[in-house]
Point group: C2
Chain length 443, copies 2
């Protein structure tokens, strides 16, 4: 029985994380972790596709509006026809002759594209009764290549090269799948290092992370050098010399400033500096990478599309590729980046701060390990330990490793109750917060 | 008397240009030239600021929505306080801790930023009774530097370098201003070369352009090589060997394809190839530029911000810098790019296909000539001869030269009647079109 998408439903969901400063960094001091959430309804009883794009509050309404602008490409379409030629479908969706002007493939429109594309993946995976990582891992190399949007990246990766890469890993996929069920996929934690936390909070959380088995921890930097040095010294003292310490500047610096600042932090032996400058600055990242080696440069959560990643990867500007499941235009474009990263030998360490991002990216990293890179070396998923309670199928992390999700879909479905409670601006949580807050602080 | 902005009013205005194929190119076959239009109302009687961002139809509604998302940064603010530290105001507007997540500085949000910032410039210029170009040309180098957002570009241009550049041109500004009044600013035409036009239309329009004094003409390419060769041969025959022929691929190609295609078109002696590939692909443009020299590479109408321009300019990837008045975040960011272009010796030839863009960019090029580059060499503004009738103060082009606008403001104010007639989706023009169109073609 074919499945037709009959209707799109959206939610503007926001969590008041700014109240606790969870998520605070040098450029985003008071984020309210949010989701522009979409449900694809179908004519198959009980079958829905769920997807979201992550934002940090204001502006979420624009992503919801953009999902509606994309609705004509989805409503009335058959799932089977979409997935039969998914790469081409993706290309049509992102290259509408009028709509592409307000992108192309970036910002609000591309974030909305991700929500819609990911909802289609959730729908497809539920229709075939597999989690997304397993759906992908069971496709042939030829089938995977047909998912990929190659437009504007063939100078770095041709379909033939992609096929060759995938075929190399195909014979040993089953081994790595077993390994994932045995040991899970390694991760690091960001939960200890938010900029708005006190020293005491940070030290306690870092100790707790060690107790939980984490061997790598990330801290926020970039607002004040003296503060960063003190914080780095504290964390290095708590975690010892052998565990990894990563730093994240969240785009705060100009290029010369990034170089100077990281020279001052080098003595704390950071494994990488993340987002040292503007995410569009390929040549800037390259200049920083050359100046501060052996500290690695990492970026990705704000890298708009595969074209920017192509340049970062091919030019050696980054040593860690931090794909984001909904900054890129959903699974199809992510696969393009996984393939390029594999070709250029750059490990993929997904961005997963936020809400729903851990749920998403576990599928992508597990697919990468099984079918694309075939390696865990220098690879870790980010883990942030909050907001998972809102999901129907939340991530399971044991001993600092993600265990493979087993329920059909993309693990991104939120509980109906959470969608209603945190609906912006008039869900019960927000109504109550406004009643409590003085007028001067009203959101 | 200080002026406070009291209210924001918006219009979603769309012109049914797809009916005539004016504006058609290889990636945008059926544009409806549109504007997300904003009016800043104030407490000063009769004083309003007008601004717009240009789109080509679908998606315009998102830019209108984004203007409303930016309203809290504008409404209740004093004009005098904004312009007293305009560079910092721009930085605050584009770096809101939550909103920047859905950019930063790109796509829907940045297009909306441009509409708002440009409306502030229109307001400022009207408040002081000068056209924008003259307001700018009368500022001191120190005052101009304070307008510029330097964040993330200081590796290419420091405030001191900017000051030095501006001071070099300051003593001779008056001369060049007189020259503009005498002769105007040179331009080329795109009106002959739309992809959807027939050979007869194109030849007739090209002859007409020559009669009007144009010495440079642009054609659209990229859909079909045989067609492009025939069209280029026709145009070269009509305009002769000495006039300039430019080509515009509107991002159609991958990098290897751009190089191969342009080698096939080289015999028609194109002066530049515009948008040969994806606008985010700095290194791709550089590779193309190196492969097809002496044909120049031009781009800009889709270059998201000063950070991408910085890379294109500093790396030698482009020989012509095509700023767009509302793809960049308004006048302030444009000045940053004009200064970098001057530093790296790249001529600025603004993009002005669209609606309102000719009206906007004449101010920018005239300011560039008077105060920044000080040169007309290899510089031309684009001119497209349509939709000017909707403006209160339309451009005046005589003998293929823009004459300096003299009314106060940014020349971007549209007639109230046009705003109402073409309002989407329920203005009289659109209501009538829907009544005439068969259901299958309804927009």
């Amino acid at each position: 029985m074919p499945t037709t998408i009959t209707q799109i439903e959206t939610y503007d969901v926001r969590f008041p994380t700014s109240l606790t400063l969870a998520g605070s960094d040098a450029m985003h001091p008071d984020p309210d972790y949010s989701a522009a959430y979409v449900i694809l309804h179908t004519d198959s009883p009980g079958l829905e596709g769920h997807g979201l794009t992550f934002t940090i509050g204001r502006g979420n309404e624009l992503c919801v509006a953009a999902i509606h602008s994309l609705a004509p490409f989805v409503v009335g379409q058959r799932l089977e026809e979409i997935v039969a030629d998914f790469g081409r479908y993706w290309d049509r969706l992102t290259n509408d002759g009028q709509l592409r002007w307000v992108g192309p493939e970036k910002g609000v429109l591309h974030l909305a594209t991700a929500a819609v594309i990911n909802a289609l993946w959730d729908l497809w995976a539920k229709a075939v009764g597999k989690p997304v990582w397993k759906l992908l891992a069971d496709l042939t190399p030829e089938e995977i290549v047909r998912l990929v949007p190659f437009r504007h990246i063939t100078d770095a990766l041709t379909p033939d090269e992609a096929l060759h890469l995938l075929r190399q890993q195909a014979p040993t996929r089953a081994e790595r799948e077993r390994e994932l069920f045995r040991s899970g996929y390694p991760c690091y934690t960001t939960s200890a290092g938010w900029l708005g936390y006190s020293d005491e909070q940070v030290a306690a959380l870092a100790r707790q992370a060690i107790d939980q088995g984490f061997t790598a921890i990330k801290m926020k930097v970039g607002q004040d050098l003296a503060h960063d040095r003190a914080r780095a010294a504290l964390l290095r003292q708590v975690i010892g010399p052998d565990r990894k310490l990563m730093m994240d500047a969240n785009q705060r610096w100009d290029v010369p400033q990034a170089i100077a600042w990281m020279r001052e932090l080098a003595e704390f032996d950071p494994w990488w500096i993340e987002e040292p400058t503007h995410p569009d600055d390929v040549l800037g990242h390259k200049a920083i990478a050359e100046a501060i080696a052996p500290i690695g440069v990492a970026t990705g959560e704000h890298v708009a599309n595969r074209v920017v990643f192509k340049q970062l990867l091919a030019s050696g500007a980054i040593r860690f590729c931090q794909i984001d499941a909904c900054r890129l235009g959903g699974v199809n474009e992510v696969i393009a980046v996984l393939l390029m990263a594999a070709k250029f030998g750059v490990p993929v360490c997904p961005h997963a701060g936020g809400v729903g991002l851990c749920e998403y990216v576990q599928h992508l990293s597990m697919f990468d390990y099984i079918a694309v890179s075939g390696s865990l070396e220098h690879r870790m998923i980010e883990h942030v330990d909050h907001l998972h309670e809102h999901f129907v199928d939340p991530v399971t992390v044991r001993n600092a490793r993600y265990l493979p999700p087993q329920r059909p879909g993309y693990s991104i479905e939120m509980k109906r109750e959470s969608l209603e409670q945190y609906r912006w601006p008039d869900g019960p949580v927000w109504r109550e917060l406004r009643q409590r807050a003085p007028a001067s602080e009203q959101r």
